[in-house]
Symmetry: C2
Subunit: 129 residues, 2 copies
Amino acid sequence: MSFFDQLKFDANGLIPAIIQEQKTGRVLMMAWMNRASLETTIATGKTHFWSRSRQKYWMKGESSGHTQAVKDIAFDCDGDTLLIQVEQIGAACHEGYQSCFFRSVREGGASAQVTEPQLLSPEQIYGKK
Amino acid sequence: MSFFDQLKFDANGLIPAIIQEQKTGRVLMMAWMNRASLETTIATGKTHFWSRSRQKYWMKGESSGHTQAVKDIAFDCDGDTLLIQVEQIGAACHEGYQSCFFRSVREGGASAQVTEPQLLSPEQIYGKK
């Protein structure tokens, strides 16, 4: 049985993909894939997603060069979430942090705090707009 | 500004929560929260979710005893995904594996393989049904 038959895509044909840096265990980001972007991810060895806001395919790093080389693709017991181990080139977050999860909750939800250094500015990643 | 104001819940009032075991870095599961279940998670220090299939609140471990003590709650740059560090009691997966992500893709998507031992059977966790 193909593993695709064990996956459940949602009503929009999408499945969330958690991206984890294999060597550090850091969770870098979460984005959405459809079947075609997952097939392209497997075929090319680089992560490809479906943008819900822009309604288009995108390859991580297509603008920034900060691509993700796929090391492992796992899926959960319900078949409705992917966990992809990658080797991350550069910073995963478009805001210049290593991980998109660079803020944590403090004071019982009353505030949030940045928990890691910003490695690059968005201007350094994408150029001045 | 409350961190709740930095979050974006979806059209159904939900936000995905990635659960990571703090001491090992293992991603254990992904489940959905609404604002009330997130507030309860913060107030009690144990993870609470909203079940989309059962349309009800649930605390992780309420049946199995395999609860999750919250150590950190982070959120991503877009404010639409949570990453929660926990101390996991017992096995996270209802199928008896440490992580729900116990299967990985092999052979370019042609098959899948179990990648970790099953610690308990569902019957051992939940009793015979």
